[in-house]
Subunit: 151 residues, 2 copies
DNA sequence: GTTGTTATGTTACAACATATCATTTCTAAA
DNA sequence: TTTAGAAATGATATGTTGTAACATAACAAC
């Protein structure tokens, strides 16, 4: 059983536990993200699926599927880049925290990481002082990855 | 002389000092942002200008003008919201730092602020550890403003 | 006044995203 | 095991955001 297969069936069990279904189409979209080393736009995924599988994936469907996968915490949407990545903790059993992302603006490679509790804490305090409320602790930063910075 | 007029002529002098020109159209787009209490999309500005002035503003022109105003640091582009705001320090003489933004996802009101040096410092260290480089210190956070949170 | 530069106009289209309603597939209860 | 309801997908249309490419106009400096 390939690593991809393992991840997919892990995801499937997890969906089942949540009372939802990881259908074939959803699996295929998720596979696309899992096999990519960078963030993909919805339309890139449409192209990928249409090429890889002999099936038609309408853009509309892919958006719906991405929304579902996001709810299931299998993928993350990067709002800064309008792109999607598979969650790096997809095969972990523990509940994971809200992630932060470093996004290479050149090649769309993404590093999912967690900033320290204390840093997050001080950001939250500063937001409170401004009398705003965080909608999400997801923070995205425009970066260059190591190889793009070197070039 | 109205406050708006003061800001505009201040901006004009500043552009002049930079060897660039704040043309009539640019002034009108900037006025639109200055008079709005929330972030506006390029197309909202197109509509605003076309209604307010008896002139045609093509979307293309507004995008170019916004790009110019951003270079001059008179406005900021919010990448998370695909919208623009006038810089709150537009009338200050001192050189200002890279700002951070709290964006209300409900009403698009924006709070421009600066997170503390120490918080920014620890974020930067954590980015370095991940072997990425920050492209910009501008950080944008999805929030609710006070009134939208209350509602 | 010509010339080079900057600004704007115009058209077309690429890329990203959602609304709406129809149809199919699945599931669970009768 | 049929069937009603829910969930998923299909299909079409349209809305929103942004850029490419080339033309013209305005201006400044020589």
């Amino acid at each position: 059983m390939s690593n991809l297969q393992k991840i997919l069936s892990h995801a499937e069990r997890q969906c089942h536990a949540n009372g939802s279904r990881l259908t074939e189409k959803r699996k295929k979209v998720l596979s696309g993200l899992l096999q990519s080393d960078r963030a993909l736009s919805a339309y890139e995924l449409v192209d990928y699926c249409n090429k890889t599988y002999d099936e038609t994936f309408a853009a509309m469907s892919v958006y719906r599927i991405l929304e579902f996968l996001e709810q299931e915490q299998l993928v993350h949407k990067l709002n800064l880049a309008n792109r999607y990545v598979a969650c790096v903790h997809i095969a972990c059993d523990h509940q994971h925290e809200v992630p932060q992302f470093l996004i290479c603006t050149d090649c769309q490679r993404v590093k999912e990481f967690s900033i320290s509790r204390s840093t997050l804490g001080s950001i939250k305090r500063q937001v409170e002082q401004a009398r705003f409320q965080l909608v999400s602790e997801q923070i995205e930063l425009n970066c260059l990855c190591g190889s793009c910075a070197a070039a």
